[in-house]
Subunit: 362 residues, 2 copies
DNA sequence: CTGAAAGCGCTTACAG
DNA sequence: CTGAAAGCGCTTACAG
């Protein structure tokens, strides 16, 4: 097992110096400090509790924490399953709150007695992940992707199925297909956007930026999106929503507007969990097994820290899947070059003149 | 600060004996062991990491863990906020997996270096909570209620607002009101059931056990419930669902059956988070601020362990609230003694003869 | 900035 | 079953 003594030996310094480096004592040269911390990471040093060694994996958010949303909730569930076999406990850390300014990430994590850390990140705080990777502290970033070769990550690949989803809408006969995404830049949403554009390109449908909507990913954002769409002069006949809450909010607003899905508007959603089954009609959606991301990340990390010395990197991309449910159908009005043929099985309902027209039921 | 030395002094034994008691060494009499552990709890002993004292609060499930569901997810969010001020980290523990059979709860938690524990429990594993309370280890049970006076808990009171909700349905003119609850006994659901019954009693409406449904609390459970109701000879005109997933599943199934809510059926749901806004029509519901349960529990516990010696118990009940949205209206057919008067603002839609009648849209 | 040595909090053979 | 004492892993004045 790793101890200050072993680190001291390897570094050719006294145990005092090792202790000082670990505890960020100012009386250590920056050079020896970083050499010692690198060795500490390579031998998998952990603080002891009394005489026992701890068995904790940390979970940290490099930006705003978001444990309440369904995505992180699913990640957490997967993580707990992944830690189970090796009997690790999960310690939820608050980097922003507790990390001292002049302390390295390694020092912080060692002070918190975690042997490895699972990271959730945002576009603006990605460099925290690469910094941790450069320090060589055991880590996996969940649901991001990095060029930087020492950064371990696992993410979902949604570009391809996004393209497939839009292909499917095109095959049904849709030509005016809108796309709704998060208002702040996000790699996942960019992937989906790329899939959307490349499907249009392949089908030789001109890209129209007026059909791209950026909204806050909330139910209200989805409702707003639907209001915008129905007030357009020439509305789209189908929309691909790159986020579950956007899709759910939009579908419910459609009900209020008296707009029939999929008859008058086809909707493809994105699903991180099982939100697609929580509305009527159930959503055709590109789906991601979010718990699997957490599970695989946690399992890899327990192995990584269990085997002592470094063993390889994790750079993994899990496939999404495309699921056809009840929210997609051929468009009401056939457009030029339609592939599908729509056989109406009921009276077509005219779209309301104004959005509020059919909003109130009693 | 608490140390083995201090505990030894108070107990009138050597530090060796204290150490043995804490580590569950067999060579300590049961009597001295429990005396020492009681003192350890009363002085707030925690294992040290190196020379530092740890600042962890544990979260443990006495039964099946359920971190993935929206309820626990909301609890967790509140807990994190509650731990923030005192700068505690949360350690998610697995009691079933890691607690040794012959080890006390206090020994287990001290081994895990947590200074207090937040508990989530089930009807079958409630005694674990009272056992922990009897050991006097700092704890709060979240969302349960105990007669046992040393058990700290915080829960929501949903009986009264459940009664109010059913009163409201009665005031709208409903007389045949069904109730749907969890299939396994659960105190929360029993509370809501009591509220339902007492509202009926007050209005002198005979209780009819055929209108009480016990289902698994899932979307599918809600759908099944709706199938059952529509196949009844004399279906209810309103239903109170004691669970969010049941309500959401039922509302979506109603859409599939072509059953109009609230025109043909009024629905009152229960909401732990914001599920009531995720369906159409938005649900009239009895609502609980679940994050607040976690927040208050965590805040109290940090104060309890922060102040060293024991200071009081926590026995707190947070009120729910009743929120009227769009899923409730007067019944179509007025029954004897109705209070409200239903002014229809559209063509009444006949209930389908068979459930599948209107199920498929394309 | 570093090491040798004293010391702290705890654990654990050893003795009874 | 218990304590006195040795020991472990770490930290920290002290000296240079």
């Amino acid at each position: 097992v790793a101890s200050v003594r072993k680190i001291a030996e390897r570094a050719g310094v006294s145990i005092s110096t090792v202790s000082r480096a670990l505890n960020n004592d100012t009386a250590v040269s920056a050079k020896t400090r970083s050499r010692i911390l690198a060795i500490a990471n390579s031998v998998g040093y952990v603080a002891t509790v009394g005489r026992r060694t701890t068995n904790n994996i940390g979970l940290a958010f490099t930006g705003e924490s978001s444990l309440a949303d369904p995505f992180d909730s699913a990640v957490l569930q997967g993580v707990m399953r992944g830690l189970d076999e090796a009997r690790f406990d999960l310690s939820i850390l608050n980097l922003q709150r507790d990390k001292e300014r002049d302390e390295t990430y390694t020092q912080f994590f060692m002070r918190k007695s975690v042997r490895g850390v699972l990271l959730r990140t945002t576009a603006e705080s990605r460099d925290v992940c690469t910094d941790i990777a450069h320090e060589a502290f055991p880590h996996v970033v969940i649901s991001e992707r990095f060029e930087e070769p020492s950064t371990n990550f696992i993410d979902g690949e949604s570009r391809q199925d996004s393209e497939r989803a839009v292909d499917y809408l095109i095959a049904l006969g849709h030509r005016r297909i809108a796309f709704a995404m998060h208002n702040v830049s996000d790699r996942d949403h960019e992937d989906r956007f790329e899939g959307y554009r490349s499907a249009l390109a392949t089908a030789k449908i001109a890209f129209d930026s007026r059909l791209v909507f950026r909204q806050r990913c909330t139910l209200a954002g989805g409702a707003t999106m639907m209001n915008l769409v129905t007030s357009m002069g020439r509305p789209p006949t189908a929309i691909y929503f790159a986020d579950p809450l956007l899709a759910v909010g939009a579908v419910n607003r459609a009900h209020e507007l008296g707009l029939s899905i999929p008859r008058e508007l086809s909707v493809v959603g994105f699903d991180d969990t099982d939100a697609r089954f929580s509305v009527h009609p159930t959503l055709t959606a590109v789906c991601q097994d979010t718990a699997a991301l957490g599970f695989e990340a946690a399992l890899w990390l327990t192995r990584r820290v269990g085997n002592g010395p470094t063993n390889g990197t994790l750079r993994r991309t899990l496939p999404t899947f495309f699921e056809i449910n009840r929210s997609t159908a051929p468009p009401l009005v056939q457009t030029e070059g339609a592939v599908g043929l729509h056989e109406s099985d009921g009276d077509p309902v005219a779209a309301p003149e104004t959005p509020d027209d059919a909003a109130t039921v009693h």
